[in-house]
Symmetry: C2
Subunit: 481 residues, 2 copies
Amino acid sequence: IIGHSLPVNLKKHWFDCTIFLSAYAGFRVIQRLEQEMEKSPGSRPFPEITYCNLGNPQALGQRPITFFREVLSLCDNPALLRRDETRMLFSPCAINRARKIIESMPGRNSGAYTNSQGIRSLREAVASGIAARDGFPSRPEDIFLTDGASSAINLSMQILIRSQEDGVLCPLPEYPLYSASIILHGGTMVPYNLSEDGDWGLEIFEVKRCLEEARIAGLTVRAMVIINPGNPTGQVLSVTNQEEIVEFCRKEGLVMLADEVYQDNVYVEDRKFHSFKKVARSLGYDENDISIVSFHSVSMGFSGECGRRGGYMEICGFGDDVMDEIRKVASVTLCPNIGGQILTSLAMDPPKLGDGCFENFMAEKEDIRLSLAKRAKTLASAFSSLEGMTCNRVEGAIYAFPRIHLPAAAIKAAKAEGMSPDLFYACRLLDATGIAVVPGSGFHQATGTWHIRCTILPGEDKIKVMIPRLKEFHESFMNEF
Amino acid sequence: IIGHSLPVNLKKHWFDCTIFLSAYAGFRVIQRLEQEMEKSPGSRPFPEITYCNLGNPQALGQRPITFFREVLSLCDNPALLRRDETRMLFSPCAINRARKIIESMPGRNSGAYTNSQGIRSLREAVASGIAARDGFPSRPEDIFLTDGASSAINLSMQILIRSQEDGVLCPLPEYPLYSASIILHGGTMVPYNLSEDGDWGLEIFEVKRCLEEARIAGLTVRAMVIINPGNPTGQVLSVTNQEEIVEFCRKEGLVMLADEVYQDNVYVEDRKFHSFKKVARSLGYDENDISIVSFHSVSMGFSGECGRRGGYMEICGFGDDVMDEIRKVASVTLCPNIGGQILTSLAMDPPKLGDGCFENFMAEKEDIRLSLAKRAKTLASAFSSLEGMTCNRVEGAIYAFPRIHLPAAAIKAAKAEGMSPDLFYACRLLDATGIAVVPGSGFHQATGTWHIRCTILPGEDKIKVMIPRLKEFHESFMNEF
């Protein structure tokens, strides 16, 4: 039977990433611990697991934005818009917005297939949000609403990659979705290293070196992925650095794939988010000069609506015939889900000053941002304070990525157990404290260095309790080896 | 610039399907007509366009099921579950279900990433619905909740196809999603013809002939797609026919890809829907004997929730290692959207006798089914009554697929305009009556035959008006040629 020993396509060249993506592996070890703790409570020296492994805000207590959920709820059940009692349960602001959205929908009941790019009025809302953010125009024709950023990234790879001879530049430490997607579409990932000593900045000479090596090896490098703010590295690029990157991609004829999903997660005063499109336009380059795809989603930032699978990509500087092909490929999955489309429009076109719910919306948004900023600072300081650990600032995104300078004896002990040293450390940490992190080897860190990725998502109270436990464990670990 | 003349991967082997999928092309001609009619109202001899081209129920007036939308609305805004006023707007039934769903969710606020296969409790609901339908057990571990059936089909092709030497048997006339997906994943479609004279049934000797030809041509045929009820052909297979197919796939070692998305769209007394899994189990075959993937979605049937992108696949008879790989691939897009997951669980585990909202739910469901059945019969009779047109019964699904026996002069006139004869007919029909249908050449009909695909989705009142217009047009067309 084929199904029993299906020589799955992927086995040929599937990545050996044991700690891939939150939703899949990595989970297993933690699941076993969960089950054990459920069976015999009190069997461990900690009351619960602290989940610093998952980039999943709402699973860790982040509250959804009230306005977003009210609008969604009304659009799901448009009958509510005709009932007086609805005013007792929903803000006028949400009622007005929902009414506007429903009126722009095919069939006016929010369940029909939409255009494969997404509903026109919602794309207009996204485009106006982008224009307001950047100060440069954005056109709804260039917006594709998508089921989260991951679908958009997959679609881009599908379009760009023709064969294994096509390469795509990607940062290391990496976000494994990129390697997975490139491999699944039969291409070759061309990694470039971020500079840990330079605040995880991107050094053009290093990218150029990697590009040239790839070309010598016979690859046609077609695009460059830049993640800003960085995942898993948490940096926010400086404008100067961004300008260098734009110049480089323009000169080398590379499509820029700008992963900007953490644009609302910036925590430091001296850095601001600037989209790569804005930087390119500011340099005077228009769509005849450079091709840029920008990815965004409602999964992170203040929305944290991961499970809703909403996002968009803005595609600039592509030919009309290419855009037609992209629309055709998008149509193979018919259309992005309507709930995600609505959420994306709300996130990019939120309540404005003067709207009844503006103040509540801003308060909820700022609460989340300030709390994340505080946790980012607390965690980075805690890691930095440990002997044998260094940690760059968490300027943005939702991760600390501290480096552990492991003693030779620890490395030897890990080897004896057939583990990478950082996995060994992470397992010991989990075992002793219930703190779940992801070892850096899941992200292709620089050879000979060891890291852990720790989200800043657990609540402030949890982080407060977690830090002394982390310190205690780390000291005893370092003493042991 | 790469983006400007991007030699898109797909151009190499992208299908030449001018009338692909509702959401994309075919639209264009109709869009132009819409714009024209908006600019100069009254310029045409018909007041509006009758959309028989799109399989998009809610865009054509099908109402969503109240219970479904109430539950969705509550799950989006769980704060409602804590308010007394909610009882004035929502049924107790929906409130209970929403509460149960929310309690089973990570973070209890319906916005977190879920397991890549979907939330366990919702998969349990789906599995119990399958077991109740079939009378054979179903396991939540075998259920993958997906963003509609199209994502599931794409994922299956990604798993099955290794190279162009891998073939997948698909019915002609085809549903173009299959050819698109197979080509996108680099495989080869191996078509087999359905028998128009045999009520669009599937003749095993024909499938066997195609399989053998493919093997002689050097292909490894790995799977067979069966669409039941049929799209675009509207047949419901007899159990005897289904048994033959199961025996054939088992003997030939083919994975059965059973597209069963129209399982709730059956309109004739003498045919019933039976899942292929049920037929296989009834024959005594278990998962050691045959591999079956069944696709279902909330887009059709009585739900009609196309834009919500909900669906599932049940994968039976695959090895554990293969299942692990499938989970890994599913995790690349992280998780299916939560709204779609919820809807799928509701459709498969609807209110039961004794639940407060059972009667209302059944009434809404039956209303939709009976009205569709009536329209199916009316349209098929109308087509059959026309000179030079023959039409099989519409036993299920949502399409009539009548054959037009075009006069030689019409074929010649079409050629002169560089069109296929059925496109020529469809354009003339649209032009004269505003009735939009899809020509059969979009579905790879048998050579030398001409068809149109006409959905049964416009409301009964619209169909009543449409039929005399159709007759009048057809007669004058036949007279002209």
